[in-house]
């Protein structure tokens, strides 16, 4: 039933000129100098890993950059800065979010938990220990985001929040392999440790059950 029509051919697509002078502005429209002449700052207070923090920030500063560049909590990673990889996952007021896609100033009064707040070398969180035991990481760059997500995922399952693979929307949800894999899919691991991460999570989920 494909009806590839003449339409495509007749449509006015972009004709690429050759050897012609082309001006390509790097922006959709020129910024007037007035609009960029100053940096607007704002202050925000929130709690990070149990500690109150107050920051005076360029309003453009994402929660991610506030953590990494201002608080030097570099465990939270910048993989894509566009919500496409999950390396920046932190837990804010009990929910995991992409810290790259939210402004720090939007989190007045929030409670933020980063990977550093879960555990430290020498006293690992059970999920961190399970990742080590099951080798649920390789290069380590996506790992803090994976672990923050994994911790939150088990809570989400417990709270009865459904996922794409939940068979019965009204029934209880079990931490099955497919449930965990679906819910972890916002955390990309290019090294490909997925199979091991699933095992680490299963171990922690089993202990909690």
């Amino acid at each position: 039933m494909s009806s590839l029509s003449d339409f495509e051919l007749s449509r006015r697509g972009m004709m690429v000129g050759t050897a012609i002078a082309t001006t390509i502005p790097s922006l959709a429209d020129a910024a007037s100098p007035a609009s960029i002449a100053e940096t607007h700052t704002a202050s925000v207070s929130f709690e990070v890993n149990g500690e109150p923090r107050q920051l005076e920030l360029d309003a453009r500063t994402t929660l991610l950059d506030a953590l990494r560049e201002h608080l030097h909590l570099t465990g939270t990673k910048k993989g894509c800065d566009h919500g496409q990889c999950g390396a920046c996952t932190v837990i804010v007021d009990g929910r995991r979010i992409n810290s790259c896609l939210t402004l720090a100033v939007m989190h007045e009064g929030a409670k933020v938990t980063t990977i550093e707040g879960l555990g430290a070398p020498g006293h690992l969180h059970p999920m961190q220990a399970a990742f080590v035991k099951h080798d649920g990481y390789q290069c380590g760059y996506c790992t803090p985001g994976q672990i923050c997500s994994a911790v939150a995922v088990l809570d989400e399952i417990k709270a009865g929040i459904p996922s794409h693979v939940t068979a019965d929307l009204m029934g209880a949800i079990e931490p099955t392999n497919m449930e965990m894999r679906e819910r972890m899919s916002g955390n990309i691991c290019r090294c490909g440790a997925y199979s091991n991460i699933a095992e680490a999570m299963a171990e922690v989920a089993g202990e909690r059950a």
């Binding site: 494909s2 972009m14 390509i24 790097s26 959709a28 939210t102 996922s163």
Partner: protein
Amino acid sequence: MRPFTYERATSAGDAAARVARTPGAKFIAGGTNLLDLMKIEVETPAHLIDVNGLGLDRIEPTAEGGLRIGALVRNTDLAADKRVRRDYALLSRALVAGASGQLRNKATTAGNLLQRTRCPYFYDTNQPCNKRQPGSGCAAIGGYSRPLGVIGVSEACIATHPSDMAIAMRALDALVETVRADGSIRTIPIVDLHTLPGTTPHIETTLGKGEFITAVTLPRPIDGTHIYHKVRDRASYAFALVSVGAIVRKDGGGRIAIGGIAPKPWRVEAAEAEMPRGAKAVASRLLAGATPTRENAFKLTLVERTLDAVLAQARA
């Protein structure tokens, strides 16, 4: 990202008035789409009004037996709401088919409706794009168009609306409540919210300047099997190549809305009359007048085959 001034809204009406009168002002709620686009200067607001504190985060029953969903209800909370899961399973299913857990924890109901296309040329400010820069041309036509639209598109733009949730909302005939800059309120049937590109692809909705979505109302629940079937290359965390949102009654009739193929949730009420006759009949009505490219013509076949699977699932 350009500098902007930032303030927190005190009321919906005030926010609407301020956005209308402040040059370059925009609302920010979840921020998951706006900040994404601000970082690459596709969006360049000079002023942001943070509406997160407005308390529009409740889901309440309506007198008509439906549900009123606050504009700021997060996608996760909407999908998990017991009444939604029970009575509007299609909506729950569509929500959890979209994005990732992290994004759904942030993204709001109104923001989801208003998210912008994922056309890769829209995202690249070096490329012509009539949606981003009116009159500059459409690089997607004749370019990489596999993920793009096949129907409702125009010679100026073949972008699709990327939302999963909106497909369910369209099938459910949701109503969008807004407050306008002058303080008046109105209700927009979802069918009238999104516009087709025509010669003005930069205009995507019928909302006026400053007009602010406060809630989305679902009419009374609709009997039938609720199915949201999303088709994509990777198993999760991907936009739909094609998605089918359907409510199928026992008699074989019902409602169907399609995602991944058009600039707005694609529903043709006349096609629903064909449901008892099967997927082929429905698809040929739904897709009449489609103008795919060479790269995305497969979506026509895919819509029919996905529909077929959905109808079979409903029968089973």
